[in-house]
Point group: C2
Chain length 225, copies 2
DNA sequence: TGGTCACCGAGTGGAATTCAATCATCCTGG
DNA sequence: CCAGGATGATTGAATTCCACTCGGTGACCA
């Protein structure tokens, strides 16, 4: 789940992707250099044509260096995905603080906007996000989505007084799944993103959550014990 | 898109997956045996760890035999998916004819029910379905989803007088994406399927489509030119 | 009995991964 | 300040793995 884990400071699994934590400064540059190279290569040749040799060469490193940091080919792509998600997280924060939020809806809208922005500007993300659903990430994905739903729930509860609880988390989880699917569809064959799906995504999110959390629904809820 | 192509009699690419059409009877059994083996292996080791050797061994055949029928490893998984979809198609038909349909909603509900049943009973489908978005099928997937949306639109237009047109197809496409995401989520870590997500899927589908195609909405639409 | 059809499995090639050797940097005692 | 050992970082040839090919062998048919 790609929207998952957006607000987490690392979801646990993320950090263990790196085999050996770099100790000297130069290797930090190496690490991000490898990811930059991977992003470029993925954009050029696609997900399933990428080879470790290409990544190494593009990064000006040797094969062995790749394996020093990542246990296998797929882990490199995972890490690329993780980094993109981290940048997205920052983007959400920026977006949230740059906007004047008058209701929970504005916050949700910011998240969608940030995600769309990520698709558009982060090299390789579009492809990695589609293809990263295999194998290993599958297990993490649900945990990530759940984690993200919890974080988002915190924000909505604290900022907009939505009623906290498992119901809210579950519904945000549902919303995240739907949004991810629709945005993936929007960008599937269109680097700019098909606006119809993006618009419909916002609409669906709002309608779905309005059902439970519109002012009217909340008022109604308040009148009941 | 996994719900995609459900009602199609083959989407064009489907039939060309088999390299050589079997001529003698025994080879028909071989073919389905290979798929059974692939399904079992996929269930055991997962999508990206499956090897042609594993499939061959499980089927009691040799590597060469696999390649006699399928051009490559991915084609085997395509074929497995296709077979599952074919069975699903039958299940939809059964479901539709076994139910008394009083509105378009009943038809949509049947599709969801059939899809859930497929997840539960078709070996290997759960995993293949997740990963079928990736790699090669990715391109087909959107076409499939679109194709399925069109077929479903036909049914709803003919049986329940929904207004035909691109809008209906687009909205069904959106609905398909959402349903697929939510059902995938329901079965992601639960072989039986998390009922909360299944229920929510039905609810979301209905709410979303009701917005445009509820009796009230249709009446309203009718009063306008 | 000749001609397809089906099957086999060692062989090929390319990509993933390993690992022993080498280089770079840091650290410490003098 | 500076040997020079210790440890981190890098290398790339060697190895392993795996998808895929192909020539040979038997099975069915007419």
């Amino acid at each position: 789940m790609s929207l998952g884990g957006l607000l987490g400071e690392g979801t646990g699994a993320a950090l263990q992707q790196v085999r050996t934590e770099p100790i000297q400064q130069r290797s930090a540059a190496r690490l991000s250099g490898l990811l930059d190279a991977a992003a470029a290569v993925v954009d050029e040749v696609g997900f399933d044509r990428i080879t470790t040799a290409m990544v190494a060469e593009r990064a000006g490193a040797s094969i062995g260096t790749v394996y020093r940091y990542y246990p296998d080919r797929v882990a490199v792509l995972h890490a690329l995905h993780e980094r993109a998600v981290a940048r997205f997280r920052q983007r959400v924060v920026d977006e949230l603080s740059a906007s004047t939020l008058t209701s929970w809806w504005d916050a949700v809208d910011c998240v969608v906007t940030a995600f769309v922005g990520l698709y558009r500007t982060e090299p390789g993300f579009r492809i990695v996000n589609f293809d990263d659903r295999d194998g290993a990430p599958a297990a993490d994905a649900v945990a990530d989505a759940d984690f993200f739903a919890r974080r988002l729930a915190d924000v909505l509860v604290n900022e907009f007084d939505l009623p906290s609880g498992d119901d809210l988390i579950f519904r945000l989880g549902v919303a995240v799944e739907m949004a991810d699917a629709l945005l993936a569809r929007a960008f599937h064959s269109d680097p700019i993103g098909d606006e119809r799906f993006i618009t419909e995504c916002r609409l669906v999110m709002r309608d779905y959550l309005d059902r439970f959390y519109s002012p009217q629904a909340l008022d109604l809820l308040a009148t009941l014990p």
